[in-house]
Amino acid sequence: MSALSQRPQRAVVGLPLPHESAALHVTGQALYTDDLVMRTRDVLHAFPVQSPHAHARILSLKVKPAYDVPGVVRVLTGEDVPGVNDAGVKHDEPLFPDEVMFHGHAICWVLAETLEAARLGAAAVEVEYEPLPSLVTVREAIAAGNFQGTGRHLESGDVEGALAAAPHVFSGEFEFAGQEHFYLETNAALALVDEGGQIFVQSSTQHPSETQEIVAHVLGVASHAVTVQCLRMGGGFGGKEMQPHGFAAIAALGATLTGRPVRLRLNRTQDITMTGKRHGFHSEWRAGFDDDGHLVALDATITADGGWSLDLSEPVLARAMCHIDNSYWIPNVRVDGRIARTNKTSQTAFRGFGGPQGMLVVEDLLGRCAPLLGYDPMELRRRNLYQSQHSTPYGMPVRHAERLEACWGEVLERGGIEQRKAEIDAFNATHPDTKRAIAMTPVKFGISFNLTAFNQAGALVHVYKDGSVLINHGGTEMGQGLHTKMLQVAATCLGVPLSRVRLAPTRTDKVPNTSATAASSGADLNGAAIKNACEQIRERLEQVAAGKLGINPKDVRFVDGAVRGLSFGSDTLSWDEVVLAAYFQRVQLWAAGFYRTEGLHWDANAMRGEPFKYFAYGVAAAEVEVDGFTGAYKLRQVDIVHDVGDSLSPLIDLGQIEGGFVQGAGWLTLEDLRWDESDGPHRGRLATQAASTYKLPSFSEMPEVFNVRLLEKAHEDGAVYGSKAVGEPPLMLAFSVREALRQAAAAFGPAGTSVDLPSPATPEAVYWALDRARSNSDSRSHSHSHSHSREFVGSEGR
């Protein structure tokens, strides 16, 4: 067991604790960025002018009419930028564009005494456009050959040879939709100028350091002139990894130009129409199976719909390609990946970061092929699970692959799956208009940033003379419970009660050069950094205590606020007195901690290496009931076993698993991004741009029975206190819902019906799927789905 993963006795990590801010949340006293406005004097409010075209050149911009609106103080345009007019890290995202690249693109911003005046001022701005041809769908971009960034190629084994030899070869095409983050708190920033030209920005950001860097380069100042603080976010999910930077920069620019605090908070429609989303993808594939149902070869071309600029599309694509195998051993693989450029919002990180999209390709493929191969989909999936001797297509050994089998077996047993399958068969036999189905799907998800450099973190731990502890780290809190875990890590390492430790908000003048709180890595990286800082302090205090106790420093133990020797008869000192004694001995009572993940290497060009510290595993079974009249469905039961290592905080981890699952189910079944793809006047406009039209899962989508268990005996040697990351992997457990819907739709047709199911599988999509299945068994006519038709070439069995 490594020093990093080893837990002391009576550890505070591992206790099921509620969120550290729970009491503040429930009483409305937890502060979010926009709650600070009323606590700040003389605030100006910002409102954007948004493009009504998907693609157009700006011929003229007349801002003078805005100044005629009472209350308008300043209109910000590109001419005001003292530094670089860019909001991204790829330098392809002008903060104030000359050419609008998507419907809703912000052209300029109006600052006013009230939000109402800013809104009216924005409406008064006159913009003359020259509309330009636009590409709205990924298919249009592929047809036009309009790609951006670097395409990637991943290959292992002999794909052509394996396909030629395979007794069953299928090919298919599958295009699937993205997802709006719909964090409940929209993007917000509040900027003010401190003395000496120092800029202070409160931002709802997952990546304060990068927000700081963008603000600095827009203002043309060095990073040390800008401080960014994030108290907490009302949800992030990846949507605040890159998107907040430009908004923070606008607020900061306004503050420097007016000398007054500037508040920028997007309303929901602005947030949905201006910020990036989960990438939709297009895929084409060929797959070969042997006679035993083993997937022996996969050849796929996947195209991410990147939107108008690169943003994080390249690493998203890399992760998608690295997860196209999901949990399955495929000896011969070739994947070509590319990024389409379309006139839409610039798609970005979203929980899973391409992983879900890669996995969806293989899960869809297995779901479609199983009936054609004559296999129960559950059996087909189980047969293809990785075993411990296997490596991934990019050459990384699948360590702990046996946990897949362990999770699978536990779900099978605890979920009573075999018996329920029999019950479902009986139910379906007697219910012509209602069908049920159960599906099981696995998850294997690589943990670490694909880009090795991001796998570092810092922390700052202070112990005050009274023994109280203040910790600070580079991670941000967005609801995932990171701060709760960090408090537990510090309390465990210092051996003090949790109540002695307090956490200060994340800000860039405490810990510099931080990585985004992303890639599920927040607890792994920051936890290890905090542990490192605490260990430095503890080692110094061991010396002090050893002197007072007259024992060897190595024998000093810190437990529950008491400091004592190893032996039974040892004297006991209180933590507080050791701390105070240390102060008088002039011992440093604070420390900066640092951590870098060891053992990672990745050749991005060759797409080979070991980019991940470890894999997180899980298995889910979902049972659905589908109404044959409407395609409406219910999620009757979900059983999950998920591997979080030795949990740092079980209640938090449970919440991540359940919440991730439901969010994934929303992506796959309900949430519907509808862009205007017509040639009409609103081409490129997002039609589902409000909560009334873009539907998230609500209480009615919660599984009626929801059983989640953490895999036992799951110690992870490579991570802090033996734990594993949990933020993203559970989202992909929701494939089980989609596959169950496919199987229920198939149950309306004769045995062996292969169902082609669009994503999202809305009630309408399910209706058309089951209607097609049904018309296989009788001669009733059927209509065609509104959604994209998909070609499916049947078995080329020979």
Binding site: T27, G28, R232, D433, L651, F699
Partner: protein, 484 residues
Amino acid sequence: MSTPQTLRAAAVKVNGKDTRLDGVPVHTTLLDWLRDRGLTGAKEGCAEGECGACSVLVARPGIDSPTEWTAVNACLLPAAALDGQEIITSEGLGSPAELHPVQEEMAVRGGSQCGFCTPGFVCSMAAEYYRPARTPCAGDHEHGPNGFDLHALSGNLCRCTGYRPIRDAAYALGVPEENDALAARRSSPPPAAAATRLSFDGAEFLRPASLDDVLGLLAERPDARIVAGSTDVGVEVNLRGVRAPLVVAVDRLAELREFEVGTDEIRIGAALTLSELERLLDGRVPLLGQLFPQFASRLIRNGATIGGNLGTGSPIGDTPPALLALDASLVLASHRGERVVALSDYFTGYRETLKAPDELIRAVLIPLPLASMTAFHKIAKRRFDDISSVAVGYAVEVADGVVSQARIGLGGVAATPLRAHATEDALIGKPWTEVSVREAAAVMASEGTPMDDHRASASYRSAMLGQSLLRFYAQQLSPEGVSA
């Protein structure tokens, strides 16, 4: 006409403290007003009454007790509409040192993750906690053993938890303690509706004291914007920037809140909220009983009135298809007098109706007896809190195996709600059998002129019409055999 005199200063009692309302723009929402006063617990998540992050409690006239704590969307109500009223926010329920029982359960069970939706959930949950008629029951998929009705939370969205811990918190709630001040408050009357006149920057908000005052005002100012629950007007204000020069609140007028079950008809005051109506009818009109839980969310139903749902003239309102099937008519009132119009004549075009600019819907009349076979079908993406792509109301009578009467109301398939006359004709006089129902279903699939939009394709809407009739038939044969 007489106008209300404001002798007292307009004010709202917020968390027990009188807070002045003057100097506030007329369109200012209750949410913005609260936040401007430092009560930032309530949040804006959507500004259209869909997410519930802004939920607060209002002391409203009750049915089971003099006052009931009612959860509403603060983002939709104009602050001026709360003049003289009492509200409680998450900050007023409890503090971190002294959590309210609802807050305690939410906190310890992992009911909050990012916490942004949490104050709203807490308020919606507290309203159900204090519901006088909540008593322990067997429980089912939508009710806890403590009688907690999950529909109370149907208007609150959470993006983090997946809802299970929130449900568990709700189902773990006990009953209020003896010394619970909010529980005690229920046994005395709610604040009376305050006659209000507020003006700001040329715009005015009026709450007249009587119907005659309103009708007189409408005669003079047909441009006046009538507001009851503000669940539609509030969206126009927030999302479309509509700023009416004159807003007239009518939701508390006694003349609009009548409820009478006679021998020939049921008379429903137009300003009764959907929530009140659900409880007043208490299952007496099974068709409406099926409709209510599917109508938006509890938060919306607590504000939305039946008159408002008809007044907008929307083709996708949920009550018109049901009321068309029930053969309802409307009482329209103006200073010129009253008239009764059949609902089937009322809708004249897209968001256009027979109602003259100076008229107000006073009541809805439902003739008795009711048909013996009725149903309401709503096709939507989401089961709770969604807008229908297709809605169908049925009222069918079968005598000696033959359809003697059939009224079918449709929503979402044309510019107005409409009756499926061709389908009705295809059913009446035919035997109530699968064969004739299938023939009628084919007719029904071609009713209306459905469109493609983001909710559904035209072909799905048409298919759903035909399928709906088949489903109605199947439900009548075997209620358990068909998915709800």
